[in-house]
């Protein structure tokens, strides 16, 4: 993967982010810089990817009095996002039915802690991509917790998923710089169950709300 990084003198340079291979990953696990727990099978760590399993906690959207999922502060929190989600749990080996066009918040079975200089790029395993489920996300260096995944079934028929099955994978990349994930306050910290979006805590939304109020003389 290539990233455009800004050099101290302001010039831009193509710099290669190194993907970590099996040996690198095992070394990080061995010296406890990378935590993956539980790692039920060693062969979850492939040559260039790590397989992750579907966890047992879910948040599903429900129909209620809220007319929409409100990603703005312009309605004075009248439609709180959290009230549009309902939690449901399963046991290992149980199944979860993912309906067409439904987006479900799930999490990995594994709890991870990434090194401060390694990030992860997530994608579905191809067997699940072929059924019509897609995800795309990045996990930041230093993140700790179960990985939150947003599963959407873009197929026209429901898909029955097994709890504990390896459904997605991560490629780990060296970030070329060490960062401290906890240098600033984090919205999501050590999560073990999926958490509804905390978008309304974004500072940007607060500023945008002020602008909207000013523009409308409110």
């Amino acid at each position: 993967m290539e990233t455009l990084l800004s050099k101290p003198n302001g010039s831009l340079q193509n710099q290669v982010s190194m993907i970590l291979n099996k040996e690198d990953v095992n070394k990080l696990i061995g010296n406890k810089k990378l935590v993956i727990s539980p790692l039920l099978e060693r062969d979850q760590i492939g040559e260039l990817t790590i397989d992750f399993r579907l966890g047992y906690n879910f948040l599903v959207t429900i129909h209620n009095n809220n007319p929409f999922l409100d990603a703005s502060l312009n309605n004075d929190d009248k439609f709180p996002l959290k009230s549009s989600f309902q939690e449901t749990r399963r046991l290992l080996g149980d199944t979860f039915l993912l309906h067409p066009n439904q987006t479900v918040l799930a999490s990995s079975l594994e709890y991870i802690k990434l090194p401060q200089n390694v990030y992860a790029v997530l994608s579905m395993r191809s067997s699940y991509l072929r059924m019509g489920i897609s995800i795309s996300a990045i996990v930041q260096p230093g993140y700790c917790g179960c990985i939150s995944i947003e599963l959407t079934n873009i197929n026209t028929i429901p898909i029955n998923l097994t709890i504990g099955a390896a459904i997605f994978q991560a490629r780990l990349y060296n970030a070329n710089a060490t960062t401290n994930y906890f240098a600033k306050k984090r919205k999501y910290m050590c999560q073990v169950r999926p958490v509804a979006s905390n978008v309304n805590d974004d500072n940007d939304l607060k500023e945008l709300n002020k602008i909207w109020k000013n523009n409308n003389h409110l």
Binding site: L92, Y111, F182, M189, C190, Q191, V192
Partner: protein
Amino acid sequence: MQSKLLELHFSQLQFEWSKAKYNNYSDLRKKDYHTKLATIISAIEKENFQILNDTEITQRFHVIDFLFKSLEFLNNSTTSTIPFEIVYVLSEALKDWSSTDDYIIVTSLINNINGFSFDNSLMFNDFIYSDIELLYDVKFEKKLVQINLPLSLSRDYLANVVLYHELGHFIDRKFEITRVIYIEILNSVASGKLNTNEQAEILEYFPYLSDDKMFSWLKDNYNPFNLFSNHIAEYFCDLFASQYIKNCSNHYLEYITLNQKNYSITHPSTTNRVNFVEMFLKRTPSFLVEHFENITYKITGVNVENKLAEVDSKNFESLIPVEIQDGKELHGLFIYGWKVWLDPWDNIKKQSNIGFDLSQVKVYEILNNLIEKSIGNFIVKTEWKLAKSS
């Protein structure tokens, strides 16, 4: 009772059953239990209540009550939100005292902040099971036990330590330990053979025994719900819990009772309860603690002793779950969790290089998450290993 009133009771059940009969359970044991309920209801439907005598009507009334209660347990078993981690840990503790094969444990989340309990109302009523077998030829090999948790604290593993105490009530009821201790203590006092220290200790924990009238009344009127029985039961359950979680239940006890210094009809003073547990944990010579231990062993064949393995870890401070190696460490997790909560939270900040102040609610959330995941990982690994080896 008139047969018409029995018909009213049964109509209520039939109305409930019209929905509940379609209940679907993934657990085969619950399915079997449900089928047995269906058999009994179908048999009652065929009965003519008008020709039953008073005894038979009362008998049916109790059977219908049993069916209602069973449905209540099965319907309220909130499997999709159940905190199965705490249920697993309690089941592990239960195995030390009794085969868990005899029970189907269901869980209910209730709207009561202090609503921690083991509802064993379907466990110990042997008469109803023999009546049902006699009348309808249905035998329940497994009985339902319901663990109740407050909905708002179902993920609070610091508060959930109280359930070890509640498990103690379950064991007490099963073996009738309190009843024997009750009789033994009063007999010891009446015998006049106790030395001064022993007498003083008894009066410290049961001060009302110094009143001769009260003493005689208690001796002649055993009742599982009188003041003395209640207090013995509470001490026993505190002792029981401390085998698994040491003095952690004291932390929560002091919090919910505001360290109550006086006793009530249902509970001894918190001060005495805390001291009682401390005597056991510190192995301070104590007539009462030894009495409780000996009687419990004689009845159950199980020693009252430390049944946990301490967790020696800094993982929570490093924001990662603990790798539990031994089932006994599951109990030790609660002690570790309480320790991190009571220690300065700067330990977490330093260990994890956190650049902002950790609010109390954030620490609360982190700790509960990490305890839950530590237990969850142990369950997952155990089940995986078992599946691989079979």
